[in-house]
């Protein structure tokens, strides 16, 4: 197999939670192939991700996935320009498998290794769609594990404006869904049900926090309010309109996410706003963000990844590795997994 591509080819590996993934991306923007071996079914009977089971599975899966990715891309390991891996944040056992694998592969093939912050990598899903994105930009990353608002004045230089102080946005969707008896994962179910309900039927609290942390998020109060509402209704024997409840809850989450993102975009005088992470798949969030930006900040372009790139994948890891690759910021052989890795310091 001969090298017939001109761009920079990066192999990305992702094992931070319950998806084993490998992908080859060219120039940080073109997916050559992106493979995901999901463990969702294995963990579903435990009601959540079991780190030891996930770690075992990653080890059994990852090398074959790399082989398949290279075969699909019609290249050899030697045709790559770098290997990239997420070394945090995430679950330590699963992360260690990816980090050890990536280090050994890169060492064996004499390729540079790039360490990628998993959370930041989510926003790079937007760079895989073929649209040009102008800096500076503000990115809202919201999923089951994280909620962060980042400012990127230039490529690869994220500044954290705010993060969640308690539950992640996707986490409250799951918890509210469970309390309503709608199952897991909660995001798609509430999105669908909420579309048929009245979002103004029930007024739930919106936490905007004080001036010091006004770009921070807090969703635990909202979660408690929804659970209390359900509890009191049941005590009084009143029937709960599930569609109205889902719509009202969703509207409370979305309003805070949109308000803070739009405020941040205005203040940082950005040219683009990016959504990323599993919650970016929410249709109300997508619609409200688009409407608010068009109304308040016309001229700023909004980027939202396609659904399959909102959740964890390795293409976003390879894409996120492109700026550090170009600057020659490579990881040492003693690279470790950092479960609590913060943004802006991968």
């Amino acid at each position: 197999m001969n090298r017939h591509r001109k761009g920079i080819l990066i192999l990305g590996l992702e094992t931070s939670c319950d998806e084993t993934a490998a992908a080859v991306v060219e120039d940080g923007s073109r997916i050559i192939c992106s493979l995901i071996a999901s463990q969702v079914e294995i963990h579903s009977r435990f009601g959540g991700v079991v780190p030891e089971i996930a770690s075992r599975r990653h080890l059994e899966t990852i090398n074959e996935l790399v082989d398949r990715a290279l075969t699909e891309a019609s290249i050899n390991l030697q045709d790559l320009d770098a290997v990239a891996v997420s070394n945090g944040p995430g679950l330590v056992g699963p992360l260690l498998v990816g980090v050890a694998t990536a280090k050994a592969l890169a060492y064996a093939a004499r390729l540079p290794l790039v360490a990628v912050n998993h959370l930041e990598a989510h926003l790079y899903a937007n760079f895989l769609t073929g649209h040009a994105i102008d800096y500076p930009l503000v990115a809202l990353i919201a999923s089951g594990g994280h909620t962060e608002l980042l400012h990127l004045p230039a490529p690869g230089k994220p500044v954290v404006l705010g993060r969640t102080r308690d539950d992640a946005a996707g986490e409250v969707f799951d918890k509210v869904s469970r309390a309503m008896g709608l199952g897991y994962p909660g995001g798609p179910v509430i999105d669908r049900l909420g579309a048929e309900g009245d979002p103004e039927r029930i007024t739930f609290p919106r936490a905007y926090l004080d001036d010091n942390g006004r770009f921070d998020f807090s969703f635990s109060g909202l979660k408690s309010a929804v659970i209390n509402y359900l509890h009191h209704s049941r005590q009084r024997g009143e029937e709960v309109n599930a569609a109205d409840l889902a719509a009202s809850f969703q509207s409370a989450v979305v309003e805070v996410l949109v308000d803070k993102t739009v405020d941040a975009a205005r203040e940082c005088r950005v040219k683009s706003v990016l959504l990323a992470g599993g919650v970016a798949a929410n249709s109300r969030l997508r619609r409200c963000m688009r409407e608010r930006l068009a109304r308040n900040l016309p001229g700023i372009s909004l980027h939202i990844p396609p659904l399959e790139l909102c959740t964890d994948n390795a293409a976003m890891i390879a894409a996120a590795a492109f700026p550090p690759y170009r600057e020659g910021r490579f990881a040492p052989l003693h690279l470790n997994a950092v479960p609590g890795l913060r943004s802006g310091c991968s």
């Binding site: 030891e52 089971i53 075992r56 080890l59 050890a100 060492y107 064996a108 003693h334």
Partner: protein, 234 residues
């Protein structure tokens, strides 16, 4: 578990690093491999095969070693062999007829252990008398009492359990000297070489962990197999 790396050229041990400190294997392993190759003036492309301890032992430690070995084997396109940590430990005892019992601490008041008999020359293979298992040391000792010969104990578990073995088995318990109890990569490489001679087609795909224990979540879900853990097949 110690972090150990060795380079074997045919039967000759060119070099070995063994560290028994707290720093994580994740940070240590690759730099040690790189340093050993440099010291021995061997290029990574010259490696003919890779062997790794497959367990039993610390789940995380085993996975770091195996993931590294898998990546090296895949990246270099060379064969790979997974070696039982208990068998590698038993390799240090080459006395024909000897009963050898490697013991590793398995936490939760249990040990990983097995009982081997060193076969007579010229083969000197290891015959398995009690297959590797995780269990209470007391139940292992009960099994060992059914043998008359002395038992040579080795393995890192001796630092916690050596005195108990001497108390229960008296003069029949022979403990390896402390520095020779640690898992050593030289012995893993040696054993791996034997496995690859017998089966040259082994690849990273066969490099699978020997956990001997299910994940805690599965055990709690009531899926643990019942019965005796140190079964024995004599």
């Amino acid at each position: 578990m110690a972090c150990s790396v060795a380079l074997l050229q045919d039967d000759l041990l060119l070099g070995e690093y063994t560290l028994n400190t707290r720093k994580t294997h994740s940070e240590r392993l690759m730099p040690l491999i790189d340093s050993l190759l440099r010291e021995c003036a061997v290029e990574r492309e010259q490696l003919g095969a890779v062997a790794a301890a497959a367990g039993p032992g610390s789940f995380t430690g085993i996975r770091i070693g195996l993931a590294t070995a898998r990546g090296l084997a895949q990246g270099l396109g060379i064969p790979a062999a997974g070696v039982s940590t208990l068998e590698a430990a038993a390799e240090a005892v080459m006395v024909p007829g000897a009963l050898i019992c490697p013991i590793l601490d398995a936490r939760r008041s249990q040990v990983y252990a097995a009982l081997y008999r060193r076969e007579p020359a010229p083969e000197l293979d290891l015959e398995t008398l009690i297959p590797p298992a995780a269990g209470a040391l007391s139940s292992l000792v009960e099994k060992l009492k059914t043998y008359r010969e002395p038992v040579v104990f080795t393995g890192e578990g001796l630092s916690s359990y050596g005195s108990y073995l001497e108390e229960s088995l008296g003069s029949r318990a022979i403990l390896a000297v402390p520095p020779s109890r640690f898992n050593r990569a030289g012995l893993v490489a040696w054993r791996g070489r034997m496995l690859l001679k017998a089966n040259p087609g082994l690849s990273y795909r066969e490099l699978l962990p020997i956990y001997l224990r299910r994940p805690e979540a599965e055990r709690r879900a009531g899926e643990e197999k019942g019965g005796e853990v140190f079964g024995g097949n004599h």
